[in-house]
């Protein structure tokens, strides 16, 4: 049988390979995509083609919806018509149920893509006598498949036959024949079954359907219900083996997460600003890496939300999109509060760059939160995501559950190159900070905002605890929230240690006063010297004057002497002249002398 099957499959593949180049020509199990978000990734492409798959679970866990979605997606997305054999619900009831997921069964039926056949057995009208078989069921199924050329079949829930018919031996052998017949028809089938005691299904259907078994569960923990999906068995294929939570909402079933089973996502060296210039400086001058995860933790009232709002603001100012998931405050509250520090988020919302999603954590379970976050992100395609605060999620799950949820969220976001900022509340009274420590190993950058309590006042100090792959400051900065916005101030490192707040300001004032006094003292000394210089200079001038007057005096006497000498010389010459003349002429001149 196996050999024959392999041979068939080979032929099939060869045919496929020639028809569609897309299909890789290798000898693996051919799969039929279900079209259900996440399930195809989980199963590596879908459920086994041309074979029956068993979907089992308790009542109300979503078996019928899963199988219905399988048929509807097949018809609408993969152009594979499907037959839905309902043993429980009438087709009208099914149509109403499906309408709540946005599926229009009536239209699909008219288009010949879907056939619903309601099979019921009214025990009260039936009497069994002698031998019989279920050929009627086969004929109906065959007819339905042939009419629309169905590739997909759902039998929901075939175990109802057991309540209608009493001859178990016949039923069992007929079911075995049915599953073989489905394989021979080469239709991909989903058979649903109710979970039984200690068995996957009440009637042990799993022994007939051995290729693929999917178990759905519905668990209520802490009054919050979560649905889980697990692939119990998938013969001949690799598959995710864990329990995966899934969500049923207005768009059908989403199984999560399946984005990253490996740590192999792209990384970016692109840097984005935190919105606070000084913080960017502390982070090597450029801010965070794009696609990284940032944790801002701190005690109550330390401004975590403000930091987050700044980050959102700067994202929107770069004309990028941002989604803000608020678990504590309503959007209006955040917008109002942020206006008080000069951040106008309202305009970003109006421009469509910013979206708020506010919900109480207790609204639904963690996994549902994850799914709704996932779906919002898929739809809005933001560059930045903010979760404020993650600590509140603890109310709906344990620390390890929150951590596992965040791991998956971070994986998903990193694969999408989305930067995420978490805020986390730490409690002063608890020595080890719970959530942030639990999460801190996951994140790329961790900012801690702390109260520094001295001199009867509380001030905020900010540290960068870690920042992977970049130089970052080891300094504590004082984190100041003013009307004009956030700022980081260097703390004062004085002889008495680190000072913040008014102590820092007092110290700075003291320093300033010192400067003024010194300046004043220096000024006075300068003046004195100036004065002394003036006095000195005056003295020098007077001495000079004195010297000059003495020199003058000396000069004067010299001159006088010279003058006298010259006059005397003249006189003598004149006298000589006169005497000479007297001697020559008269003696009158001698008398005059």
């Amino acid at each position: 049988m196996t050999a024959a099957f392999n041979l068939n499959e080979k032929n099939y593949f060869n045919k496929m390979a020639t028809k569609k180049e897309k299909t890789p020509p290798k000898l693996t199990l051919e799969k039929t995509p279900t079209g259900i978000v996440g399930l195809d990734e989980l199963t590596g492409g879908g459920i086994p083609q041309g074979r029956p798959t068993l979907v089992c679970g308790e009542p109300g866990c979503g078996k019928t919806l899963l199988s219905l979605e399988f048929i509807v997606r097949g018809a609408t997305e993969f152009n594979e018509p499907g037959v839905f054999i309902a043993f429980e619900e009438k087709s009208e009831e099914l149509a109403i149920n499906a309408a709540s997921l946005g599926f229009d069964l009536g239209k699909l039926q008219n288009d010949g893509l879907l056939k619903i056949d309601h099979i019921y057995i009214e025990r009260s009208e039936i009497e069994e006598t002698g031998e019989y078989d279920l050929e009627g069921l086969f004929i109906r199924l065959d007819h339905a498949i042939n009419v629309i050329g169905a590739k997909r079949v759902v039998l929901d829930t075939i175990e109802n036959l057991f309540s209608g018919l009493s001859n178990q031996a016949i039923l069992r052998s007929e079911l075995r024949r049915l599953f073989q017949w489905l394989k021979d028809k080469n239709v991909t089938a989903i058979i649903t079954g109710e979970k039984g005691d200690g068995l996957l299904t009440r009637q042990g259907l799993e022994e007939y359907v051995s290729d693929c078994v999917i178990l759905l569960e519905h668990r209520v923990v802490n009054k919050i219900s979560t649905r889980f999906l697990r692939i119990v068995k998938y013969r001949g294929s690799v598959h995710g083996t864990n329990e995966y939570p899934f969500l049923i909402d207005s768009e059908g079933i989403s199984v999560l997460p399946v984005t990253s089973l490996l740590l192999a996502h792209e990384v970016s060296t692109d840097r984005i600003s935190s919105g606070i210039p000084v913080l960017d400086d502390m982070l090597g001058g450029k801010g965070f890496y794009r696609g990284s995860s940032i944790l801002v933790s701190g005690t109550a009232g330390t401004g975590k939300t403000s930091i987050a709002a700044y980050f959102a603001d700067s994202t929107c100012k770069r004309k990028e999109r941002c989604v803000y998931f608020a678990f504590e405050e309503s959007p209006q509250q955040i917008i109002r509060n942020m206006k008080s520090i000069g951040v106008d988020l309202d305009t970003h919302i109006k421009k469509g760059l910013l979206q708020f999603h506010a919900s109480r954590p207790t609204l639904f379970g963690l996994e549902m939160h994850l799914v709704s976050i996932y779906k919002t992100i898929k739809k809005f395609k933001p560059q930045t995501v903010i979760l404020d605060p993650i600590t509140n999620l603890i109310t709906v799950g344990s620390v390890s559950e929150v951590k596992s949820m965040l791991i998956r969220l971070i994986d998903f976001l990193q694969a999408e190159q989305i930067t995420v900022m978490f805020t986390a509340l730490t409690l002063n009274t608890i020595v080890s900070e719970q959530t942030d420590e639990g999460v801190s190993s996951l994140v790329d950058a961790w900012l801690l905002v702390r109260d520094i309590e001295t001199n009867g006042e509380r001030n905020r100090g900010m540290y960068i605890m870690k920042s992977r792959g970049m130089k970052h400051s080891n300094q504590v900065r004082e984190f100041v929230i003013r009307d004009s916005g956030l700022d980081l101030v260097d703390v004062f490192l004085g002889p008495e240690g680190v000072l913040t707040g008014s102590a820092r300001e007092a110290e700075q004032l003291k320093l300033q006063a010192g400067h003024v006094l010194r300046d004043f003292a220096v000024g006075r000394k300068d003046k004195e010297i100036q004065r002394k210089r003036t006095v000195l200079e005056a003295k020098i001038t007077s001495l000079k004057e004195e010297f000059e007057s003495v020199a003058d005096e000396l000069n004067k006497s010299y001159q006088e002497e010279d003058l006298r000498n010259s006059v005397m010389e003249k006189n003598r010459a004149a006298l000589t002249n006169i005497r000479n003349n007297k001697e020559a002429a008269t003696g009158k001149n001698r008398k005059a002398n």
Binding site: E125, G130, Y132, L134, R140, H143
Partner: protein
């Protein structure tokens, strides 16, 4: 009720041993208990598969009593006479 004609419909799928046995048994009981006031319609689902839906046929062979109301169904080869008569609500007159 005495005057009413019984409309019986037997669903089969080809001429299988069970179908043949069922038809033979049915004819026998009708001749015995409903002589002259019954009609048997045989529907072969291999030829008319679309008819299976209307009467909610799963098992083969299935005997359906259309008239008198209410509808009754008996599945199997009708080998147990007592059960068939009870199922069809035919009370043997002389018993």
């Amino acid at each position: 009720m005495e005057e009413q004609t019984w409309e019986l419909r037997l669903y089969v799928a080809g001429k299988t041993a069970k179908s043949v046995t069922a038809l033979a048994n049915l004819k026998k009981y009708c001749e015995e208990h409903l002589k002259g006031k019954y009609v048997i319609e045989i529907i072969d689902l291999l030829l008319q598969p679309q008819l299976a839906e209307g009467d909610q046929i799963l098992a083969i062979p299935t005997l359906v009593r259309k008239v008198p109301e209410p509808i009754r169904k008996i599945i199997g080869d009708l080998s147990n006479e007592e059960k068939v008569l009870v199922g069809l609500n035919i009370r043997p007159v002389n018993k």
